[in-house]
Subunit: 221 residues, 2 copies
Amino acid sequence: MGRNTEKDTESLVNSKRSASKEMRRAQLIKATIKCVAQKGLSSITMADITKEAGLSLGIVNLHFQSKDKLLVETLRYMSEEYGESVHRALATEGGPAAKLTALMEMDFSAKVCQRNKLAVWFAFWGESKSRPIYQSLCAKIDEDANASVHTLFQQLDKDGDYQHIDPDNFASVWNALTEGLWLDILISPNEMTREKAKAICQGYLASIFPRHFERPRKTKN
Amino acid sequence: MGRNTEKDTESLVNSKRSASKEMRRAQLIKATIKCVAQKGLSSITMADITKEAGLSLGIVNLHFQSKDKLLVETLRYMSEEYGESVHRALATEGGPAAKLTALMEMDFSAKVCQRNKLAVWFAFWGESKSRPIYQSLCAKIDEDANASVHTLFQQLDKDGDYQHIDPDNFASVWNALTEGLWLDILISPNEMTREKAKAICQGYLASIFPRHFERPRKTKN
DNA sequence: ATTTTATGAATGATTATTCATTCATAAAAC
DNA sequence: GTTTTATGAATGAATAATCATTCATAAAAT
């Protein structure tokens, strides 16, 4: 414990009355993520959330005004958390290949790629068409990550003197590939695991930038 | 009109009392798809659905027993519809390359890839962790399509004598790529269009099987 | 005439929100 | 150091609103 640098709630929370506002909010948001994953966006109730958090019924309205706003803040929290993870991966020592590897490890890490969180992401995506605020938050995070990936692919193509006709196309594929693998992990956890997903990504990178990436041991099964 | 061979509701439906059971069900399912896309799974009501269908409140319970069952049948309907589309694409005249092109055209066709339907797919995926029946329906359709794609990639690699080290890896990428592009089209419709998505797929195929696929005119912008 | 299909007002269950009250903590007074 | 007062976070019973479902009635089909 104490190893994580950001978004930590564990401590202080149990001393009932002493937790700061921000801590309470984070605690409730984490309970929300768990509940949405377990019961789905369409059937979570305030009672579920507050029970999961070990607090009383009125607490969400006290800290977030309404259930709706709690959900928006939950999405915002997840977006920021993911954004920070991307940022940290991009700050990895080394060239574009090392950064790309770090990005991949992050995208399929236990923290980012747990089925609970995937379920919540998909739930928000599924409601994004009807809730503009969801859509803009989701679009922002996706577009930012996408832009970084494009830069990385261009750099790597240049630095490695690969002279690919269209590195941007490879970058676009990479981005969609990651998202698609999340879906597979969510709905076919027996068929697709985080490790398998990484192997697929690795294989893809090796086929484009053979001098920078090794083929994974095995792709199949 | 009358061009579609399956899943057609337009006719007969307006003559209030004459529609057959199956037609009524299809009519309600279509209304459900529209409502879920417009309001989200978490806030659609029976009133929304029946109003959209131009029918009365009790009608869903008459034909589906409950709202829950209507939603399950909606997912089943969409799965079958997609499964049939895949089947038709695979029945295209020609070799694996032609079939792959047909599959791609289908996956990004106006019918399959409309944002309304994408929103509904994502909503169901988002609830799949909490509703086993959703999960099994979603997993089934995904795994079937995936298996077909793997066969196609293997055939094409063999027929074209490409001797790729791991055609299965390319197939896995293809599958996830398609799903990831759907997400981009759903949440960033200004950044990603159906046409752009097709160009990305086409570029990917051209990079793997250059003698069978041409590079698209342009990928960027 | 009988059966099937549809209606929509009424019902009852669920659930978000409100708010009077409690109580832990801290500041002020002594 | 002890007691008093003030603060505002937390509680949860009560309220009010929403919404799925039922069912008596009617219309249409056979």
